[in-house]
Symmetry: C2
Subunit: 216 residues, 2 copies
């Protein structure tokens, strides 16, 4: 059994839920509340499982109980252990293009807007809500503009031609966050088109934050 | 020929230089100055190659001129195209542990302390140098503490047993940055031990910032 420690609104956990669904893998969810009790991800019990103190964490009980932190490490592991259906193209150059866009989201957009960073801006640097929202939108807009340009090469196709995969598993949660913070998305028609095609699929709708057992 | 667009002090470019050296691959360097001319990575000429406007970028001229952004996407590509010597362990669970630690550095430490973020803190949020340095050290120390704990499982070995690879290619540049910003590293004896074993190797010493043609 695969066990996913996550939180309904954690966009990194959302990526892994999509990947698991795209591969048709059953999994059990263990909610870790990012705010309650001062953040359950900081509790000794969770940190004993994942010293990074972040979500998500995958435990593969059939795989000797291996515990894997970091959403992209989890998705690469799933791709290696359960290769079909593939989430990455077969060609190394195409795989690299997908990973480069996914990593741009995972490294250069999302971590800057993660809850712990927004908390630091407020509590340690005294940044007010208006400036914090401007910070949020600044990094989202820079990142989505680069992804929009990267999608030109896909020429209207999804990252696996007619199927979504690794790239879409990273992009759709980022888009969810962008909408939540009222970012203006009019400049990203390729992203919006790709999102519309994914969001109608069950692998995505069942992974959406509001569809999770711990959604509030 | 492999062509690497980088900057001597870009820690993401430093990762790729280590990976290329570990694989014994020849490459040509194209320096992109991150400060001069308002940041040459923002210039139209460079953005035409890499719309993300970040370093590094690898161009594989033998591979049809494919251009790959994002250091970890580049390293995964090199691993697929030039599999030997491997930079990742063969076992999927071990690969996942390496990727999870490398991604923790690449996602949750480095991007928060990247030049463009430090510039935003100063210019947009009016953060003074003292608070900016505290920010820097906060994320480095949180991240290195988690990596230190992750290294317990390696039991004194390098990530490929007697050889360094993907993990060390990410960790050594982060340690370079931590030293540059005078972070206290006494709490990370496993990281320091691993670094001492890597830094004596030519693949690492030749990749060091000060050894690059554009070093100042």
């Amino acid at each position: 059994m695969l066990k996913l420690y996550g939180y309904w609104r954690s966009s990194a956990a959302y990526r892994v839920r999509i990947a698991l669904n795209l591969k048709g893998l059953a999994y059990e969810q263990v909610p870790v509340h990012l705010v309650k009790d001062g953040g359950q991800q900081h509790a000794a019990e969770y940190r004993a499982l994942n010293p990074q103190g972040l979500l998500p964490l995958l435990v593969d009980e059939e795989g000797g109980g291996v515990r894997i932190a970091q959403s992209l490490a989890i998705i690469e592991y799933l791709e290696e252990i359960f290769p079909l259906p593939a989430l990455l193209p077969a060609d190394p150059a195409e795989r690299a293009q997908v990973r480069a866009l996914a990593l741009h989201i995972a490294c250069d957009v999302h971590p800057l807007n993660n809850l712990r960073v927004l908390q630091y801006l407020s509590s340690e640097l005294g940044v007010d809500d208006k400036a914090k929202n401007a910070w949020y939108r600044h990094w989202v807009e820079l990142g989505l503009a680069a992804v929009e340009e990267g999608l030109v090469a896909f020429d209207g196709r999804l990252s696996l031609g007619s199927r979504p995969g690794y790239l879409e598993a990273c992009l759709i949660p980022q888009l969810y966050n962008a909408r939540r913070f009222a970012c203006d998305l009019a400049a990203y028609p390729r992203i919006l088109d790709l999102a519309a095609r994914c969001e109608s699929l069950e692998a995505f709708s069942l992974a959406a934050p509001e569809a999770q057992p711990d959604a509030q």
